[in-house]
């Protein structure tokens, strides 16, 4: 069944072509059909993609939780009558019924034309971004919106001037989050690019993936990654001449690092800007461009009271950006920094107000506040907390309780290692904490300046 044409995914098990993908769809559609909503937690990009297309063809809703924290998974499925989790591992079997699928069951009549069937599909794929409460905000996507976001990846890949059959993508970014979803899964589903099934994490994983790619005849590779991963993968990239392009989310990416990688020769480092709300919307070549170029179809409009908006034919309406922008007359723009209380750590974003809403629910404390120090790339976070009056717990026990509680709701990146135990949080009579008081606590926690 492995076709050498129309290759969509590859792994050490071989190549999966469009024919196998199409033949796997009907059995999976049948399995998923009774569910009202499908929470897709597949780690294998091929099975994940099958799940996405099967639910879209079934006109079912897919949810992709913001993290693997149990409460994040529960919250993403709230209100659904008979939700299922589509996953290989039993990690969340206590949350909802699990459906697994290993890809061995196929039918002779498949959905080779699934792309044209999905062109006008209205079924929802729900992705989440941080709101101002403890509950993440739901962003509804459709096939055309996610394909529209992946168009920027396709545009960059087309510009590499490489024979399409020899090109493959390897990703380090989680495909359940917007950048990885668009730049790997929808690059395959929407545009037919061939993508590595497994997630690359350690440098040895990248070495193994490139070896597999070489054996399968892929001579040019694109690494889809983030600045947080790139730091550890640099020496492997330098030693792998097949990698002809690094496609990184911005956090931002260090220009010096991009220059070191491009100095190897035969490799371009491209950076992509976007958000959960907009999808990927602009790109730049980090070594050459100060400003960002919007992807084809995107238009930014500044001058509104609240900030800059981005609109595109595949978005239902213009979206307010989470960054301040200096928009040039030619449509290119410069990023000036994040707006409001948005925290960015290792490319992941959250809001201080949302984190505080979760923190105050810790029963072992009577008050608490997140302390936030903005940085160009990785922000610093700490917590100031006041033990509950009626407890005589040690500081260690209280800190463990805080971390345990936060981990039920948010990605570990937002769980600070620094927790200050205080007698009180210096609030005003209206309950606010003045900026200068927050600065003092941040200084005490060693995260200011």
């Amino acid at each position: 069944m492995n076709s050498t044409k129309n290759r969509l995914f590859f792994s050490k098990e071989g190549v999966v072509g469009q024919d196998q993908f199409a033949a796997n769809l009907n059995p999976l559609r049948k399995l998923l059909m009774p569910a009202s909503l499908v929470c897709n937690l597949q780690q294998d990009r091929y099975l994940f993609s099958l799940g996405i297309v099967a639910t879209l063809l079934n006109n079912q809703t897919t949810v992709l939780p913001p993290s693997l924290a149990p409460q994040a998974i529960v919250a993403s499925m709230s209100g659904a009558r008979d939700p299922v989790i589509f996953a290989a591992a039993p990690d969340n079997d206590n949350i909802a019924r699990r459906i697994s699928f290993d890809g061995t069951e196929m039918t002779s009549v498949g959905h080779e034309d699934f792309r044209s069937s999905l062109k006008d599909a209205r079924a929802e794929i729900r992705v989440f971004s941080s709101g101002t409460t403890k509950h993440p905000e739901c962003n509804v996507k459709t096939w055309s919106m996610l394909r529209g976001g992946a168009a920027i990846t396709d545009q960059i890949l087309q510009g590499l001037d490489v024979e399409p059959d020899s090109l493959a993508l390897i990703g380090t970014t989680p495909h359940g989050h917007m950048f990885g979803l668009e730049a790997t899964v929808f690059a395959a589903l929407g545009f037919g690019h061939c993508v590595y099934r497994d997630t690359v994490f350690y440098p040895a994983d990248l070495e193994a993936a490139t070896k597999v790619a070489r054996e399968l005849g892929f001579s040019k590779l694109v690494l889809v990654t983030s600045p947080a991963h790139l730091r550890f993968l640099e020496s492997t990239i330098l030693a792998t001449p097949e990698i002809c392009c690094v496609l990184s989310a911005t956090a931002p990416l260090s220009r010096a690092q991009a220059e070191r990688i491009e100095a190897r020769g035969g490799v371009k480092v491209m950076e992509i800007y976007g958000s959960t709300e907009t999808g990927s919307l602009a790109f730049r070549r980090t070594t050459q461009d100060e400003t960002w170029t919007p992807a084809a179809g995107f238009r930014l409009v500044s001058g509104t009271a609240t900030g800059c908006t981005a609109g595109a034919p595949h978005l239902p309406e213009p979206v307010l950006l989470g960054d301040d922008v200096d928009l040039r007359p030619d449509g290119h723009f410069k990023l000036l920094g994040r707006t409001g209380d948005i925290v960015s750590i290792r490319g992941k974003r959250n809001r201080v107000s949302a984190l505080n809403a979760i923190l105050v629910e810790v029963s072992e404390i009577s008050d608490g506040i997140f302390l936030h120090s903005k940085r160009e790339s990785n922000d610093l976070l700490a917590i100031a907390a006041v033990p509950a009056l009626d407890n005589a717990l040690s500081e260690t026990v209280i800190k463990v309780a805080i971390r345990k509680h936060l981990l039920r709701y948010v990605d570990p990146a937002f769980v600070p290692k620094k927790i200050l135990i205080q007698k009180e949080i210096p609030r005003t009579p209206t309950g606010k904490v003045r900026n200068e008081k927050i600065d003092e606590l941040a200084k005490q926690a060693g995260i200011s300046g």
């Binding site: 350690y202 947080a228 290792r346 990146a413 769980v415 290692k417 620094k418 060693g446």
Partner: protein, 95 residues
Amino acid sequence: MKDQNSSENNEALQIEVAELIVDSLALEDIKASEIDHNASLFGDGLSLDSIDALEIAFSISEKYGFKLRSDDERNEEIFSCVRSLARHIAENRVT
């Protein structure tokens, strides 16, 4: 006698691993001697995240000359605490 030496070596390696974690992650407010060698490195223990694991793996490859891989089914166990990480290093170290 051999068992005693092996146990002492393992204890020394655990202390070394705790120091490697503190140094590679620049944990300013945690001393290596304060880390419980049986406590969870992730979750409610040291509350490390995936990039912290990458940082630790990078330091391990530099110091002990072997590389960790995602497809190792024992990864969860290896990274469960300082003691098990030290055991894995002892079994695989090249330098």
